[in-house]
Amino acid sequence: MPTPLGTIEGRKIAGHRPCSRLVVNEDGWRFAASQLSAGYWTLLGLWGDTDAVHMALLDEGAREIAVVTMPCPDGHFPSVGALHPPAIRLERAVRDLYGFEPVGLPDTRPWLDLGFWDVQHPLGERRAAPARCAPYPFLPTAGEGLHQIPVGPVHAGIIEPGHFRFTANGETVVRLEQRLGYVHKGIEALMVGAIPDTAARLAGRTSGDSTVAYALAFAHAVEAAMDVEVPPRAIYLRALMAELERLANHFGDIGAICNDASFSLMHAQCGILREKTLRAAESCFGHRLMMDAVVPGGVARDLGASCSTEVAALLEEIRRLFPRLVELYDNTASLQDRTAATGVLRGELARQFGAGGYIGRASGRAFDARKMPGYPPYDRLDFDVPVFDAGDVNARVWVRIREVEQSLGLIDQILRRLPAGAIRVAIDPAGEAREGLGMAEAFRGDVLVWMRLERGRLARCHLRDPSWFQWPLLEAAIEGNIVADFPLCNKSFNCSYSGHDL
């Protein structure tokens, strides 16, 4: 039976905003896992803390989010991944970073700890790492005519590092196994003890392509924890940045996907639109990617006088050029031949994993953090969340195309309604312990940030990239496709390595 999140039995923690956090016992934890596995709730995140594990849950029907916590002073907790596969990699990460044992976890191979650190369990009880680590056992494959293709961590293009182990039968991929963690920087450990303004800069460098969204999710969490109201002008400027970031990334992706199908004309043309968007961002906010522009309490910089006209001119140009590119994409049969029916992600998998962004929306899952839980100013702006059902590369391109159009409309509204006034409110995070959860819709999906502030400093901050729930689905989507279509499928997913590895 679907049960509302409110029925979980546990002790409610005061000072956790904007949703509730409940401390549960083992039964409560197992109950939550069973509800996830039954598909009633969606897993938004699972992360470790001092002597405890937390899980963020979403009840989409009731539009409700809750965090449940299970204390594990003995260093073990019942594995959620045993019942609900989307939790497996998250639990492997908790195991590496904290040394907690998820009892029953089906896959206990390390995930982020590749055996090169000096310490084990860097966020938990640290101890010296063994001098030599065991070789990583990839999943076995057996059968006639199978061969393996190892790729990475250093790839052929200008992309992030990660290892892909393909097992192929002739041209057909039988299994793809990912091994990630190469760009693990220890961001969460660096955040411990930092003041929010310093940590915000780290958050903004978790995945550079989503720097605005990360800074925004982080700011949302700080502001929720401290119960701070952000000035209206700052709220609109944040949305302007977020939509410019979405535009730039979608242009880049649409071009790059077509380029991986050897259609370089689209790549060149989309590259022009991307560059123009970045230049407008720089002239408005002082940085092409708008790093450090969103800060806890507001924004760091106000829009110059001529910026509204400049952005309006950018929109006009995009509106003039982009439809031609869409037409070109739609009418080029050789390109469609590559993208249609390639890399199909089934809708039920997208739902099970709670896949966000264009990956979820190309496979029928309409979730968008701007709508749910929703945050201002989007509640006052008119926009649609485009959804397709085909789940192939083509659908993921179309979601991006439609989102470009929606973002243009959003920026129109933002510029028209941009309120006057202050752009930042001071936050004094001193005082008693407070906790906050924040979300923001990045171009690739929902970013979640959870934090506990103690005496004005971060005691714990967890950043969950949308890619955690998207990477595993790429393994599923590529199955049965030919090896040569992998770059195309991979680009259509465009998961973040850095955001995932942290």
Binding site: V183, K185, G186, L190, D209, E275, R324
Partner: protein, 169 residues
């Protein structure tokens, strides 16, 4: 498609003039680049990009070098898929411990003469990530670096400036 191609033929190119050489970078390079090696290579340089733990911000701007505005290839610089074809390694990131071996192996796979260009503030000394258990803290801690291009991330023009300086030193 015809209309887009036709428009592109008719309008003036978007490509911008090359930025001037950076004197500070030139000074850094003077010591590390041998004249003989430069003569042997001529002007054309093949670049292999290696992400050694960046946040991917630098990669976005390195990508931009190939767009119509910066058009890197007009200077005889181009990106290659294998370190075995490369003259220059363009390395980003604070160098995570998990990427150290991969970076070393990429360096060793690159034939001599070769140059290493470290890109981004965190490639200099780890930047914002320095002090972490998971990073080495700067590319020069793993492989010898000939040129640093600072910035978080450096703008495409700064990247171009650095690479042209390398070319003409």
């Amino acid at each position: 498609m015809r209309r887009i191609l036709f428009d592109s033929l008719m309008r003036r190119p978007l490509t911008e003039a090359a930025p001037v050489k950076d004197e500070e970078m030139l000074a850094e390079l003077g010591a590390s680049v041998e004249r003989a090696a430069r003569r042997r290579l001529g002007r054309s340089l093949s670049i292999r990009e290696v992400d050694a733990g960046s946040c991917n911000g630098c990669e976005l701007e390195i990508h931009a070098l190939n767009n119509a505005f910066y058009d890197l290839e007009r200077f005889g610089l181009h990106f290659v898929a294998s370190p075995r074809h490369a003259d220059v390694l363009l390395v980003t990131g604070p160098v995570t411990r998990n990427m150290r071996e991969a970076l070393e192996r990429t360096y060793n796979a690159t034939p001599d003469p070769k140059w290493v260009v470290a890109v981004g503030d965190c490639a200099v000394d780890g930047g914002i990530f320095s002090g972490s258990y998971a990073v080495i803290g700067g590319v020069s801690g793993v492989v010898p670096v000939d040129l640093h291009i600072r910035g978080c991330p450096p703008r495409p023009t700064q990247l171009l400036q650095g690479l042209l300086t390398l070319l003409e030193a």
